[in-house]
Point group: C2
Chain length 126, copies 2
DNA sequence: TCCTTACTGATAACAGGATATCATTATCGG
DNA sequence: CCGATAATGATATCCTGTTATCAGTAAGGA
C-alpha cells in the first residue's frame, strides 16, 4: 500500500514550484522548509517513486549529476548558467536535426544544451 | 624535462587513428596492442598531459563518463549509438541557437547530442 | 656507456552520487 | 483509537571513475 507522507508532498511541492530542474541536494534544502528533519535518502526514494510513476523526469547534462523536474508534456531543452550553475528550461527546439547525422546512421532523438549567463548573473564578473 | 615514451606515443596513436572519442578504458585496450603492459594510471596521466598541451580535448555527454579525442579545429557535435554506446563525430551544427535562450539570458555556447543507431547497429534488434 | 630522474604499473585511496540497512515513526484502514 | 506495516532518518556501504603512492624502469643528455 502506498501512503501519502509529508515528505513526499514536500518534494513534489518543491519540484512543482521551481520551474527549473533541481539536484537532489537542492530539493532536500527546499523541502526542509516544510519538513525540517527530512533526510537525503528520502529525497532519493521519493524521486525514484515519482520517476517510476512518470510524475517526474530526470535531466542529465554533460559532466553533471542528474537533476529532476516534474514531467512536462512535450519536448524541451535546457540552459545552464556558467556563473551559478543553475539549469533553466528552454521551450524552443532547433527542430529536426537528422540532416546532421552521418550517412547510414538512424537518428531518433537529440539533446541540446545552451550555455551562458542567466538573467540574474548577466553582468556579474566571472 | 619531458620524455617521449612508448606509452605516450601509443595513446596518441590510438586517439589519432580512431575517429571518434574514446573512453580511458577503450584507449587502454587499444594502446595495449602496442604496449602490452600498459596500465590505466598511465592512460590517465598521458591524457592529462595531452589536455594541458591542448593536443586532446574531453568530450562530455549527458550521464556518461568523459571521452577523449585529439583536438580538432572547429566546433562540432556528437552522435551516440543507443545500441553499442559508441560516440561518433558529427561535422554539422544547427547554427546560432541564441533565439532559443530565455529573455534576458546571455548565451555564449551550445552542445548538441544526437541519438540513434550507428551504421553498424542499424537493423540490430534492441 | 653511464647516470639522473621522469615515467611507469600495480594497487591503494579517494570522491561523489546513489543505494542498503535497520531501528524508529507515523499513516490510514478497520 | 488501534495496529499492521509503509515510510522515514541516520549512516554505513556501494560503485564507478579518477588520482595518489611508491618501488622499479627506462629515456636521453653527457
Amino acid at each position: 500500500m502506498q501512503r501519502n507522507t509529508r515528505q513526499k508532498s514536500a518534494v513534489r511541492a518543491v519540484l512543482t514550484s521551481s520551474h527549473r530542474p533541481l539536484t537532489p541536494q537542492e530539493i532536500l534544502e527546499g523541502a526542509q522548509g516544510d519538513v525540517p528533519g527530512l533526510g537525503i535518502a528520502t529525497v532519493y526514494r521519493v524521486l525514484k517513486g515519482l520517476l517510476e510513476e512518470g510524475e517526474a523526469s530526470a535531466v542529465e547534462l554533460p559532466g553533471q549529476a542528474a537533476r529532476y523536474e516534474m514531467a512536462h508534456l512535450g519536448h524541451h531543452h535546457h540552459f545552464q548558467c556558467r556563473a551559478c550553475d543553475k539549469v533553466f528550461e528552454v521551450s524552443g527546439c532547433p527542430g529536426d536535426l537528422s540532416r546532421l547525422a552521418p550517412a547510414g546512421f538512424q537518428m531518433d532523438g537529440h539533446e541540446v544544451v545552451l550555455y551562458g549567463r542567466c538573467a540574474s548573473c548577466v553582468g556579474t564578473p566571472s
